[in-house]
Amino acid sequence: MKVPMTEYLRIDLDSEKWECRVCDHEIGPATKGYKEGMLVHDRDPREIHPPILDPDKYRYTFCPDPEWVRILEYYCPHCGTMVETEYAIPGHPPLHDMQPDLPVLRAQWAGRGQLAEPVVGPEVLADQGHSH
């Protein structure tokens, strides 16, 4: 049984492994954080959020201060998909962001059965109004 946990990650409940949904790469044990099986890049936020005001002239430029915050980018080590980002204070340990209870998950999904695709959720549709 495989459960899609995020846009790019799933858990194989039998092998208890995180897997990449893009390339099927086995990332690591689901008893640990998926980040431990990822490549990490310490991204200067100015590269993603470009200065709109001239940084030579101004203290605030629409650009995050690279000494105050960094963007940790987590890549699948096999296909290079960016699985997650984390805006982090410099030096702050990365978060163990998703820590599932695997036995409970297994019992829950045993009752559901494998889904072909994750459920997207309902569309918000315009009300057709009240008419007679």
Binding site: L39, Y58, F62, P64, E73, Y75, P77, I89
Partner: protein, 758 residues
Amino acid sequence: MNKIATPAKTKTPSSEELALIEKFLNDTTLFLGPDPEIMQNHDLMPRSAVEDEAIGRMSDAHTIAKIRDRIQAGCDEGYEMVEQMGAAPGAKWGDVITGVYSASGDLAIASAGGVLLFSALVHHPIKFIIKNWLNDPTVGVREGDGFIHNDSRYGNVHNTDQSMILPIFHDGKLVCWVASTVHEGENGAIEPGGMPSMAESPSDEGLKMCPFKVVENYEIKRDLLTFLQNSVREPKLQYEDMKVKLYACLRIKQRIVETLGTDGPDALVSTLRLTMENVRTEVKRRVSEWPDMTVRTYVIQDSTLRENCVVKVNCKLTKTGDRLIFDFRGSAPEFTNRPTNTIVAGLKGMLSQLFLCYVWPDLPRGQAAFAPIEVITDPHSIMNCSYDAPNSQSLMSIFTGFTAGQHAVAKFLYSCPEKYTKVHAPTFNMINTFIWGGVSQHGETLGNLCADLNGMGAGATVDRDGEHALAPIFATMADIGEQELNEEDVPFLQLVSKKMTRDAIAPGKYRGGQGYTMMVATKDSDQWGFMTTCQGAKIPPMQGLFGGYACGTYPLAKIRGVDVYDVLLETPEKFRHSIEELMNERPFEGASYTTHHMGMGFEISKRGELFMISQGAGAGYGDLLERDPAGVVRDIEEGLISPGVAERLYKVKFDPATLAIDHQATATARDAERKARLARGVPYAEFVKTWNKPTPPAHLQYFGCWGEDIDKLYMGSAERFRTGSEPKPNYMPNPKDVRIAELEARLAALDALGGEKQ
């Protein structure tokens, strides 16, 4: 409210003695302050004997559905009345709400539109009235009475919101309450507009109305009204909106009386109670469908609105079985003299808004949906501040707390087959708008804000870009106002408004909805000024989702020493319509061009000086290399992103003149970028060896826990800290004193103090 703490080493009193002491203390209470027993609890009151009997006599589901719809329609009618007739700008844009509360004070049904958060928090003042005034011979609660309230320490979010609360009787018995709340704006605080960022104690926050009776026989008492008018900058607004709220409550009362006439009190009482109980049960069922998991996230506030610093909002969300537990321990300690703290009820109200607007919008809007969800905080923290701490800018903490919750919830919902909305990246969470005040062109004293606070860029969803400047996280169906109408009352113009700020982006497979530029300049008053109250000029106030990026940061820009109205009259070709062009090209000779963080205290402006900000973008969703190239080009065409930035980030190749996409070259560039990621990415175990540091960086003033040790709360540096459970004062120096000390140190270093005596 008196809890008896027995010193450990003295004789332990017997239970009889304790009861006697408690009675003595209760009988001789000198001041009925905010009541922790009421304020710390957000669950439903226990089912009363009256409710139990009513349900025993009437619990037919069809009748209940009919009555619920009828009361819902009554609430919506009251909402419309306040929105149409209210004088506060906030009322006109839908920053209002109405609701019906059970006899015990729980919010059973709220209007479909408006700021649910308000209603979800008015149960606290109602419970205060029930506990303290109902049986007080000098006050009492009678038919025709109305109570007013605004002090957030007794309920609600901040003191700018005022509520009118009416008890409803049937045959002499209290059957329920109705209430209406409006973001009024002005409340006589140290700065105009009702949300002072300069407040250093609760005494700077203006009007502090604990719940009191201001209406008798359905009429506002003129002496009390005059006192309230005399305490604020907008006396006419105070009167008009008290009347509007009263009449909205009376309209809802009329609908309730009609229901009592047709269906009787049992049906009404049973409907209110069962609506809440059924929602509470349904929420527990829905939560049980989520995966059992712990999700961790944090959001950073980068200022107190007075100074830039790093203030952590720490969130661990755990779901086990049918329990959902928000744990905000480890968040920054409360600031003793900064107003960005929140009382915990405000945080809970905002989280309830998360579920009813973004997760389960199909559920009846009331208090019950959040009732079974648990919240843990440290005492005297920014998420659960003491009653001695200022909280007039609690929005900063409840919004960032909301975003932490929204980010965490998305990670639970993705795998859950039962969904009521789509998985959603965080929506922008700061009120990037101008608060204004002074004397208008008509000679009136005013203090309020631009409705653009409601224009927050939406987060992207699992299959769609976020919508631009759509609606605030605290209200559905709110509006960003008609600026032209506003300009008839106020002496300034928005010279640029609703123009998207190019390159202020949140990229992703689906990008966040973007924000727009606002440029204001005073025109027809010598006594007019602005303030801004947002964080996020140095650190984005949110996180992206599943590989999407958050928004960037948003500064305040000023151009002073120019009268832009003269420029527009004489040399209009010099004017530019973007902050980017005005600030980088500096077209007005002799003017000063400066940038600032978004916590501008109230500042008087001269005619024609430009104050410029941008709304923020919602967060992106997914890996930006998966974005449809056509979507990237559409963003260029719509002025959301410049071609160079689009090409560099999204690796889309196109003809610079025609924007025709070269799909082959795009695929090649994206493959190359994926390979580049593999080359530059460092294996996690190796990465953390150099990245992880044991304490916060020395160059940042850091507040809150570091890493997983949530019990050690830093207070500005690695050397200053407290434990989570033991409060300590946390004073910030005046930023001007800090600056003076810096400059004096430089003078001293130059030996230029001139022998000044110390």
